[in-house]
Amino acid sequence: MNCDYVNRHLDALMDGEVDASGRMAMDLHLAECLECAERLAFARAVKHHLKRSVGACAPQALRARLEQELSEDGSGVQVMGSWGATAGVAAAALLIFGLGGFVQLRGDGVVQYQAGSVPVVQDLLRVHDLPAASQVQAAEQVPEYFEGKLGFPVRPVSFQDPGVRFEGARSASVLGRRAARLSYDVGGRRLTVVAFRTPRRPLEGVHVEEVGGRRVRLVRMDRHTVPLVEHDGITYAVVGDMDPTDRLKLLDRVGL
């Protein structure tokens, strides 16, 4: 698959119109080809921010007028009550499913929820889902493998937990920037650390939360939570199939 081909289907990929095998083939190309990855990141950034900038709210007066003038009996008699009830329930539903908002759930901790698309999380999930083809066998080979490739040094994250096994590494891209993908196996579950140069300006959605008595930097999208560790100008995002709390526990003893 070459760049020309990928470029012609970039829009379709971004719009979710490419089938699964096509997506996989394109993702593989995008992991290796920075230029195409930059193009995709750019198109997605504009699309995403267009959606957020342009959405309008119907004026309240219009809504009220339509509800009244277009009511079925047309007599103008109060049907406001029933609409009011509908609006109330709809508003509560919006809050619970977090459309554009945060919600706190009670339970064994405070969970915040951010719906919608968060570009950096989308990219991190894509990198996590790449096939396992690895070009590096042992953790010690990681710095040498990435030497000169990414523009920043990459060191393997070493977890204190002996149950974490290094599986391989490959290059990837996040938001159109070169990144390193380090794969680990934790008792059969996949863990991916994605390392990329910390952007100069703060990324959308990244914030600090108090989790288990600690302040942790992370980013959320729908049901995904990705903790981030920064060190020496490099951001390490920890994506995995496991509970974020477990991932955070692994980060307790991390050598970089």
């Binding site: 230029e35 750019f42 119907a58 219009l62 009550g81 300006r201």
Partner: protein, 219 residues
């Protein structure tokens, strides 16, 4: 708020109107972007809903109501409001933002990606909206339906009444123009540096063709 309870169950008509009104923000947003006038947008939305209620039995329950309503809105716009808009364009609302056939350099693209991705709200927000408004109607409709309302190519094709291939190519060109306009504004604001560079902007090929040949593509 006082409540008046109906003695009978809510009729299906009421239910349909209730569901239609849930999409009011989308309808108003699209109408505003299409007509570029608040009063026209309100009229367009009202016209749309009147027709939607009249043709309620033409709607298949379980299918995408928002897309159905947007189809009525788009057709109403094309039939009733378009001429009005064209007159206004002639009088001086001409679309800005044409920067010729030049392609975007890699560094400009990178700079603009980063500018657009910043956490702070508001950077380039107005400029994106302006770039959208500056697009010709055909292009503006495509970007609205694909990027703001996030409808599928198939749904867009049904709404606008053209083949999926046309949707793809028109959308591609619309986005290119919008991106270039945005870049021009960003350069003017000093957010991004303009630079000459090479790049390619290929036309998208037919999606059906791609699906037929995908098996022949090596991974």
């Amino acid at each position: 708020m006082a409540f008046f309870f109906r003695s009978r169950e809510r009729s299906s008509g009421d239910k349909f109107r209730g569901e239609a009104l849930e999409h009011l923000d989308s309808l108003y947003g699209a109408a505003l972007r299409l007509t570029r006038s608040q009063s026209d947008a309100e009229d367009l939305v009202q016209d749309t809903l009147v027709r939607a209620y009249r043709f309620e039995d033409k709607f298949e329950p379980g299918t995408n109501l928002k897309a159905w309503l947007l189809r009525i809105l788009t057709n109403t716009f094309i039939n009733r409001y378009r001429r009005k808009i064209r007159e206004r364009d002639v009088l001086g609302g001409a679309s800005a933002g044409r920067i010729g056939d030049g392609v975007m350099s890699r560094s400009a693209m990178r700079g603009l990606t980063e500018a657009v991705n910043v956490a702070q709200e508001g950077l380039l927000r107005d400029e994106i909206a302006q770039a959208l408004d500056a697009l010709p109607e055909d292009y503006r409709v495509m970007v609205l339906l694909a990027d703001v309302e996030e409808l599928s190519y198939k749904e867009i094709a049904e709404i606008v009444g053209c083949p999926i291939g046309t949707v793809m190519s028109r959308l591609h060109r619309a986005r290119k123009q919008l991106q270039k306009d945005l870049l021009r504004q960003a350069v003017e604001m000093g957010i991004v540096e303009a630079s000459d560079g090479e790049g390619s902007s290929a036309e998208p090929i037919d999606l059906e063709h791609y699906r037929r040949v995908r098996r022949g593509v090596a991974g």
